[in-house]
Symmetry: D2
Subunit: 140 residues, 4 copies
């Protein structure tokens, strides 16, 4: 199928055949997977940035719900525990699906804007000032 | 550094040198970039699942704020317009950064859980029933 | 119990006996009702501002979920329709319950801070400039 | 203006003249105050349930942002501390303003639905089972 030594990472066909993992899946491949699902169902008509931002925020709320009453430290055990693990994974998946679909509909390159944002963050939070502190940059 | 024809996609060093784009960046590379930033500042201590889920939800709220009063259709123009484009990109970046850092701290493989979730969604929303409809699966 | 013509609005006992309505219930009475419920269950220990703000945001997300895919106009029919009315009422109740409990735990007088906020809003959004416009005050 | 011993709590005029406090303000009076502000600016056109639920969730996110990195216990000091007190009060005010305006637009009696919700909660969380526990009712 991919005769050369470099697998063609952008073919949706290939993507559909191998299981996806973070190590082997590009952001573009994940985006395409989401888009294909949406397109098959003709759901683009509902996917305005407004609606997708709402869906994203609602899913983020559902993820958060698993940790409402746990102390910060204990929340790691919640996240790792068998009881809620699958539900938490599913909520995180929903969050990222909507974020990628938002990127699809608005044509934002996620990796590029993350790189830009982290460069800005590095300016705001220089290592020597920010190390070990949770203060906002305006208060460092 | 990568003598063969396939670039070594997992070396953080390489990652730091070329600009990141969705087409050429794996999810793992993005995660590593976020983790490196956090680690340098010794911020893991603040990054419990509870705290990260809150930060994620708060950033999702900020993304949403750009579209509060626009009609669904008009929100696409907002997202594409010059006036707010950079701010919207930055908010989306923040959302995905926190989602990836949540995955880092809880050791969730994002691509894998998305694949699992989409398979479940495909069951709930079969194409022939769900096409062109925004109803919840319980009402199809 | 309250022999005079003015019912004693602050007695929890009285409050428990008559059905509560917006027209006849003070904010303080609502707060007391919430507090009594919490206190009976010894839940104050979980009700830090952090946790309550999370619960509030999560409930706001659930309220929002009823309107994800409806157009703005159509969302009024959703809110009035029999199918979802009770669920929407219950979500709004949850939101206000957590807001009042947040006020209880932080000793914020809700009516007073609303008055202060609306005075500030009136400065930012003078009637003659803001009439019929949804723009942010920085853009009026 | 109100010569008798019982102040007329429902006159908006009276409401405008005395400072509002939780002890002396009915929920209906607060709602009217919000509605008057909105009406003067002809903002009802933007206040669909969809839009108001988004605004509510966005404000809840902003309230939460003050407590992202604080431990649960320490968040009480944040809420009481001089540095952030005014901002936190203003965010809580925004949350309740949008909740009341949602109630205005959908004609929900807030006190009544809270009473209904708390009766349902009392069934789900009987005192003897729920005392001192943060578990969901399905796990008691």
């Amino acid at each position: 199928m991919t005769p050369g030594p470099c697998p063609d990472r952008h073919s949706p066909h290939t993507a559909a055949m191998k299981p996806m993992t973070d190590a082997t899946t590009t952001v573009a491949e994940l985006r395409e997977r989401v888009l294909a699902f949406v397109h098959e169902r003709e759901w683009e008509q509902f996917h305005s940035p407004k609606n997708l931002s709402m869906a994203l925020a609602a899913e983020a709320g559902e993820l958060m719900e698993h940790f409402l009453w746990a102390e910060s430290q204990a929340s790691l055990e919640v996240a790792r525990g068998l009881k809620k693990r699958a539900a938490i994974e599913a909520e995180l998946a929903d969050v990222v699906i909507y974020a990628l679909e938002f990127a699809n509909m608005t044509q934002i390159d996620v990796a590029a804007v993350i790189e830009t944002k982290m460069a800005a963050n590095a300016q705001k939070y220089p290592v020597e000032k920010a190390r070990g502190r949770s203060d906002k940059y305006t208060e460092l």
